[in-house]
């Protein structure tokens, strides 16, 4: 469909709160008929890792250590008020109490709505990550040129 509205998001942050924004915007747009592309790069790659906790994913000892320290979706820190990891637990409690969708639920909705998920090739090289380290819904591994082509004619956000 040539006239379909389109939203493309560059998910750079691996913070719990910012990823919540990425997926809230993405699923909201997809539900009202937008084509949605999310391009995960650097810290943002944590959101689409197969292993959602902490694991030594990476190529050499250094990237394996980074992989452990960065972790996956379930251990994402908050950008403020992290309090050594207590912050996300407090926010999760507040979100649950107010019946607001949790990050994992939003990612599930993104998959159900067929949002296109992409991983950044360069960041993957730097962090020693392979396509197999990501959830199977990740459609492709891309660079800047391909992402620009995909997002052409729509709105683009950097979060």
């Amino acid at each position: 469909m040539a006239d379909q509205k389109k939203l493309s998001i560059i998910a750079f942050s691996g913070d719990f709160d910012k990823l919540t924004a990425v997926f809230t915007l993405g699923t909201g747009a997809a539900a009202v008929g937008y084509e949605v592309n999310i391009f995960f790069t650097f810290w943002g790659l944590d959101a689409i890792k197969q292993k959602q906790g902490r694991s030594f994913t990476g190529g050499n000892w250094l990237t394996k250590l980074f992989g452990f320290m960065m972790g996956g979706l379930k251990v994402t820190p908050t950008s403020r008020f992290n309090f050594l990891g207590a912050g996300p637990k407090i926010f999760r409690y507040l979100m649950r109490k107010n019946n607001v969708a949790m990050l994992e639920e939003l990612v599930g909705a993104a998959k159900a709505l067929g949002i296109n998920l992409y991983a950044c090739e360069m960041a993957m090289h730097v962090l020693g990550l392979k396509k197999e380290d990501f959830i199977p819904e990740v459609k492709d591994v891309l660079g800047v040129a391909s992402f620009l082509k995909l997002s052409e004619g729509g709105q683009t956000l950097f979060i």
């Binding site: 699923t27 909201g28 539900a31 969708a101 909705a109």
Partner: protein, 60 residues
């Protein structure tokens, strides 16, 4: 998120099926029926249930 959930449930149904959604007043009640109509679904009724809760009936 209310329309996201509604949309996902609607996608599981066949044409002609009915979906009942309970919504609170304000943004959810404004946006779900509006978006459902825009997406080509039929909003059959919107009725008050209790307090701030309303029931919206949508036909796919």
């Amino acid at each position: 998120m209310t329309f996201v959930k509604t949309k996902i449930e609607l996608s599981k149904l066949s044409n002609g099926d009915i979906l009942e959604v309970l919504l609170t007043e304000g943004e959810p009640l404004d946006n779900v029926p509006r978006n459902a109509k825009e997406q080509g679904y039929h909003v059959l009724s919107v009725e008050h249930v209790e307090g701030t809760t309303h029931k919206v009936v949508i036909k796919k």
